[in-house]
Structures are given as structure tokens and as C-alpha cells.
């Protein structure tokens, strides 16, 4: 098992900078998730580590070993591809054994490891089948099995769940987490799905346009997003943003959104004071916007009068698409809330969970 370090790694494809000065240290046994929209450089980062792409600048270490010039096969890593890339002409057994055969592992040992991995993944009865005879979920398991038998230092996974249906995806998510705990190996996982990132990662690295935005634990990423991009990317539905002005009155700070004015909690005053009388971006998550009828206890209330545009019933909750002026925002409210489109009501925001961003740099004000 080993740690992984990217040190000022840059990769260009022609004029496009796919990965831009990436520096990150991934601890041994960590489950790190690279997340971001398509084209953000997350897959390229993974392929650089695998040795399938060569970095233009910077160094990559696995453990203490500089691997820039080490061919993929000698990096002691295994990868699960998005398409699984199971060899179509080989049985499941041979797919899993292939890497070991090439490494001249004794036959008995190969057999033992393949069967052990198959047992872990519950695919023992599929060993004689060809990939085309398997369902999507089974293929995915075989692809993981092919990685496990190699017993590598680092597992790389490139969107391994994206070809599965929603239900299977949720199931497999938990299985991969369990697998990580069982194998105690370093996992590096790429996805565009922030739910996968949040549920599986011990830490998440958010990328945009090849640039690393923030690396942190899921909870801290959610609570303290470093900029509007991370704030908007993590969490579903996405955080609401309002262009606003920070005004100071009678020693108190208020966020003035034009159609509403909400008070900044005392604990934030000191940090926000330098921005008083300046334009800011006010951010609040939908789950911190409650209906006036059901406000949970302990909420630092700030009321915003809003017209209800659309009501989306989710069962366990209701998404309200609200309008203040002509600015739309989403509130995630108690399912017992009774409201019709066109109604007006007070949306209660929990100001303890407010966010403020600098409109120029888009960075969080703390």
C-alpha cells in the first residue's frame, strides 16, 4: 500500500490544458475522489498516475518512488475503466488471471487469488462465462475483480458506476466503500457525480478546467466551500446565490438582496465587516430554507417573502421554486407544507449556514 503525490503536474493536449499545476498528496489507504464536470481534467489526472498519459511538467510519486518514467505495468496499480475494458475473447477467469499470468505468478497461486477475489465479489459462478454473457452489474464486478487479484498498491477507478442503472449504482456504491475498508488500499476514484463523491470519499478533490479548486473531507467541503464553484457543485439541489450588498446599520450587518434584507449572525460580523457597503454574493443552501409553517428549532431565522412558482413533491420533502423579485431560488421544505403555485409565503432562512462570496474573485469570505 502506498501514498500518492502529484507535484505541480501539468498536462496539455495541443492548446488545451487538461491538468493545470496539480499538487495534491493522497495518503496511504485513503479513498480520494476526483470530482468535477466533464472536461475538468479528472480522468486525465487518473491516467497520468496510471502512466497512460505522460505529464508535460511536474512529478508524480507513488509512495516515495518517482514514477514519471516508469511504464504502467511497473507502477503497481490497477485500474477499473468506465467501459470496464474486459477482454471480450477471454472468460471471466482468464480476464482476472491475465495480469497474473503475464507476471509469471505460479498457476496454483493464480487460481487461489482469482477464486478469492471472485468470492469477495460474489461472482464465483460466472468464472467460465465470456463478458458478453454478463449483465452490466456483473461486468462491473469482474472489472473490479481483475483489479483486486493483482493486489496493487493503488486502485484507480474511472467512473466505474456510470454505466449502471440508478438502483444498482446505489448498491454498488456501498459495496465499493465496503471493499475499500476490507482491502485497506489506496483508492483514487473519478466521478462527475457529487453524490458518489460525497458518499464514498474520505476526501474529495474538486476540479474545474484542469485546476484543483479544493481538497477536503466531504463534510468540510459541504460546510466550507472555498468558492462559488465548489459551493454550487457540492450539494443537490445546488446552493442558491443572490447578488447582494452588505450594509451596516446601527452596528449590525445586513445582506440586502434588493427585494429582501436579512441579518448577518453576530459570529460572522467580524469576518464580513471589511466588506460592508460592498457588493457580495449571498449563498444559502436549499436545505437551509424552510417554509414558515415548519421551521425546525434552533434556526437563526431570517424571513424572505417569496412567491411560489413551482412545487415539486419528492415524498420525503418538497422542493419549492421561489421567486423574490424576479430572482429564482429553491427551498427544500418539510413535506407537510401546504402550498400552491402562485401563493406567497415567508421562506425562513437559517443564517447560521449562510455563505458570502466576493463577486470579483468568487472566493468565500471568511
Amino acid at each position: 500500500m502506498a501514498s500518492v503525490t502529484y507535484e505541480h503536474v501539468t498536462k496539455r493536449f495541443g492548446d488545451v490544458v487538461a491538468v493545470n499545476d496539480l499538487t495534491i498528496h493522497i495518503e496511504d489507504k485513503e479513498f480520494l475522489v476526483f470530482v468535477g464536470p466533464s472536461g475538468c481534467g479528472k480522468t486525465t489526472s487518473l491516467r497520468l498516475l496510471a502512466g497512460l498519459e505522460e505529464a508535460d511538467e511536474g512529478n508524480i510519486y507513488i509512495g516515495d518512488r518517482l514514477v514519471n518514467d516508469v511504464p504502467p505495468k511497473d507502477r503497481d496499480i490497477a485500474m477499473v475503466f468506465q467501459s470496464y475494458a474486459l477482454y471480450p475473447h477471454m472468460t471471466v477467469y482468464d480476464n482476472m488471471a491475465f495480469g497474473l499470468k503475464l507476471r509469471k505468478v505460479p498457476k496454483a497461486e493464480i487460481d487461489r487469488r482469482v477464486r478469492e477475489a471472485a468470492a469477495i465479489l460474489g461472482i464465483e459462478d460466472l468464472l467460465d462465462r465470456k463478458p458478453k454473457q454478463l449483465s452490466g452489474g456483473q461486468r462491473q464486478r469482474v472489472a473490479v475483480g481483475r483489479a483486486i487479484v493483482r493486489d496493487p498498491q493503488v486502485f484507480l477507478m474511472d467512473e466505474p458506476l456510470s454505466n449502471l442503472d440508478a438502483k444498482l449504482r446505489v448498491q454498488t456504491r456501498a459495496e465499493l466503500t465496503r471493499l475499500h475498508q476490507r482491502l485497506e488500499a489506496t483508492f483514487i476514484y473519478v466521478t462527475h457525480d457529487q453524490v458518489e463523491a460525497m458518499t464514498m470519499g474520505t476526501r474529495i478533490a474538486v476540479l474545474r478546467d484542469g485546476i484543483l479548486q479544493q481538497v477536503d473531507t466531504p463534510q468540510r467541503l459541504y460546510d466550507y466551500p472555498i468558492n462559488t464553484f465548489v459551493a454550487g457543485f457540492i450539494g443537490s439541489p445546488a446552493m442558491n446565490f443572490f447578488p447582494a450588498t452588505l450594509v451596516q446599520e446601527n452596528g449590525e450587518l445586513y445582506v440586502d438582496g434588493g427585494t429582501f434584507r436579512v441579518q448577518v449572525p453576530p459570529s460572522r460580523k467580524e469576518a464580513y465587516l471589511p466588506y460592508s457597503n460592498r457588493e457580495v454574493i449571498f449563498g444559502i443552501r436549499p436545505e437551509d430554507c424552510h417554509s414558515e409553517q415548519f421551521v425546525p428549532p434552533g434556526v437563526r431565522e431570517a424571513r424572505v417573502r417569496a412567491k411560489i412558482d413551482v412545487v415539486e413533491l419528492m415524498g420525503s420533502e418538497i422542493y419549492l421554486y421561489c421567486l423574490t423579485g424576479n430572482k429564482q431560488f429553491i427551498a427544500r421544505v418539510d413535506p407537510r407544507t401546504r402550498v400552491e403555485p402562485g401563493d406567497e409565503m415567508d421562506i425562513v432562512m437559517n443564517m447560521d449556514h449562510m455563505h458570502l462570496f466576493d463577486p470579483q474573485t468568487e472566493m468565500a469570505i471568511r
Binding site: A50, G51, L52, P71, P72, K73, I77, A78, M79, F81, S83, A85, Y87, P88, H89, F98, G99, L102, R103, K130, K132, R146, R150
Partner: protein, 291 residues
């Protein structure tokens, strides 16, 4: 849905079936009959002689001579062409600069007619004026062989031309196949520890096996034919050193007016080709791979 389906099927199926019967099945049947006759090719009534033509065939040294040349070609040409075609295709799919240009150049011989190729190479092999011997003299070989005039080199010289002509086509054929193999298989295999040879052996070759089979059958049939190139370059000579079944049957039919005997050779050739095709398909059968 199915009611009256024959009123649709028959009009569509009849024309091709009739054409096939008239222009393929009938000539086949006729050839079978002619092979059992003694016929000069001009008399209106061939004389039925039973299996006498085939009995003569078995004792005909020239027939065995011609067949042996076909078998030599069969042993050498398909294997060489497949190997070279695969080799070039593999090279040209490794991201070589100017691969498109080489691809076109390799394909050139394929678009030339066999007769043109034969004539062209007859000039190249010309003992005194030819390009080849000119080059050999240039590098200091004083008495280069008379390629097509010497029984010990003629067979080889003609075979080389066939390889030259066919390799380009199979290169392009295999390139098309290789490019349809998803690159992730190669990437996965590289991570699994595969080197260049392993990739070829364990990924490229098995995934292109269907293409190889088809090519092998085509080439095997071609090796049993060889008529066009041999006829234009050597007419089977010198002293029957390059004679193949095709040229020998042509000689019997059109030079000696022994159409019955020539057709017996043709029927034998037909059976050989049929048997060989089945054999190659059988011997190379694998489970079809889909991806």
C-alpha cells in the same frame, strides 16, 4: 402479417434465382458433364467417355507438376502475405508519422490489373534491362540470375510478385480491423503488464481472428488459382517450372483443343478449392468475439 407473403417473396426472389441458375448452376453442371467427355471444343456433340479423363489425370506427370506448384504457393503465399500484412498494419497503427501516405502507397498494387502487374514485373525481372538486375549489378553482383528464365528461380520470382501485390490490400484490411478495437483493451492490458508482443498476441490477434480467417480463405483460393499472373509473366515456363493448374488447363483447352480433359482439370480444381475452403474455415473456427 404472413398471409400472402409468398406473393411478395417470389417476385423478389425469382430474378436473382433465375440469373443464378442460368449463369452459375447451369455452367457448373455443364462443366461436370463436359469433364466426362472427349470434346475438341468445336464439334457440336461431345463424346461421352465416362471417368476416362480423370483416369488420365492421375497418370499425367504434367498435372502433378502443376498441382505441386499450386501447393507450394499454397504453403508459402497466404502465410507470407498474412504475416507481412499484419506486420505493416501493426506498425502503421502505432502512430507512425505519415501513416496515411504509406497506407495509400501500399495499396497501389491492388488497384492495378493483374495483367499490368505481370507485364510490369516482367520488365523489372528482365535479365539485362530490368530494374532488379540493374540494381544488383550496381551493388557489385556480376552475374545476377535470369529470374524468369531459370527454372530454379522462376517460381519464386512469380510468387514474390503476388506477395507484392496482395500485401497492401491485407495491410489496409487489417488496419481497418485494428482501428475498430477499442484502445481501452490495450490500456487495460498495459496496466496488466503486457508488452508489445503480449498486446499483439493476446489482444490484437484474437480480436482480429475473424478477419484473419476470411483473409486466409481468400488467399488459399488465390494460391490455387494463380492463372492470371503466371500466364502473363511466364505462361507456365520455363520448361513448366511455373506451371499451375490454371495455366495447364488453359493450355489443354485452347492450345491442344482438349476441352473435355481441360474441364476435368477444372472440376478437380473446383473440388480442391471447395475442400480447402472448408478445411481452412474448420481449422480456424473460434467463438465469435463481440465488443
Amino acid at each position: 402479417m404472413y398471409r400472402g407473403k409468398y406473393s411478395v417473396i417470389i417476385p423478389f426472389l425469382a430474378p436473382p434465382l433465375i440469373l443464378y441458375a442460368v449463369f452459375v448452376l447451369y455452367p457448373y453442371a455443364q462443366a461436370m458433364y463436359v469433364s466426362l467427355t472427349h470434346w475438341s471444343g468445336v464439334s457440336p456433340t461431345p463424346q461421352f467417355v465416362g471417368l476416362r479423363n480423370f483416369a488420365r489425370l492421375v497418370r499425367d506427370d504434367y498435372f502433378w507438376n502443376a498441382l505441386s506448384h499450386n501447393l507450394i504457393y499454397l504453403a508459402v503465399l497466404p502465410a507470407s502475405i498474412l504475416a507481412l500484412g499484419f506486420f505493416f498494419a501493426f506498425l502503421l497503427t502505432q502512430g507512425v508519422r505519415g501513416a496515411g501516405f504509406y497506407r495509400i502507397v501500399y495499396f497501389f498494387p491492388q488497384v492495378m490489373s493483374v495483367v499490368a502487374v505481370g507485364v510490369l514485373w516482367s520488365f523489372v525481372y528482365h535479365p539485362t534491362l530490368g530494374l532488379l538486375n540493374g540494381f544488383l549489378r550496381l551493388i557489385g553482383i556480376q552475374n545476377p540470375p535470369v529470374w524468369l528464365g531459370n527454372p530454379s528461380t522462376a517460381l519464386l520470382a512469380v510468387g514474390a510478385v503476388v506477395i507484392w501485390q496482395a500485401v497492401g490490400f491485407y495491410t489496409v484490411f487489417f488496419i481497418a480491423g485494428m482501428e475498430s478495437i477499442p484502445t481501452t483493451y490495450y490500456e487495460a492490458a498495459r496496466l496488466d503488464g503486457a508488452t508489445g508482443w503480449h498486446l499483439f498476441r493476446h489482444i490484437t490477434l484474437p480480436l482480429l481472428w475473424e478477419n484473419v480467417r476470411v483473409a486466409a480463405v481468400f488467399l488459399a483460393i488465390g494460391a490455387l488459382d494463380m492463372f492470371g499472373i503466371v500466364q502473363t509473366m511466364t505462361e507456365g515456363g520455363p520448361s513448366r517450372a511455373t506451371d499451375v493448374l490454371g495455366t495447364y488447363l488453359y493450355e489443354n483447352a485452347f492450345k491442344h483443343s482438349q476441352f473435355g480433359y481441360a474441364t476435368a482439370i477444372a472440376v478437380t480444381l473446383f473440388v480442391l478449392v471447395l475442400a480447402l475452403s472448408l478445411l481452412v474455415m474448420r481449422a480456424t473456427v473460434r467463438e465469435t468475439v463481440e465488443y
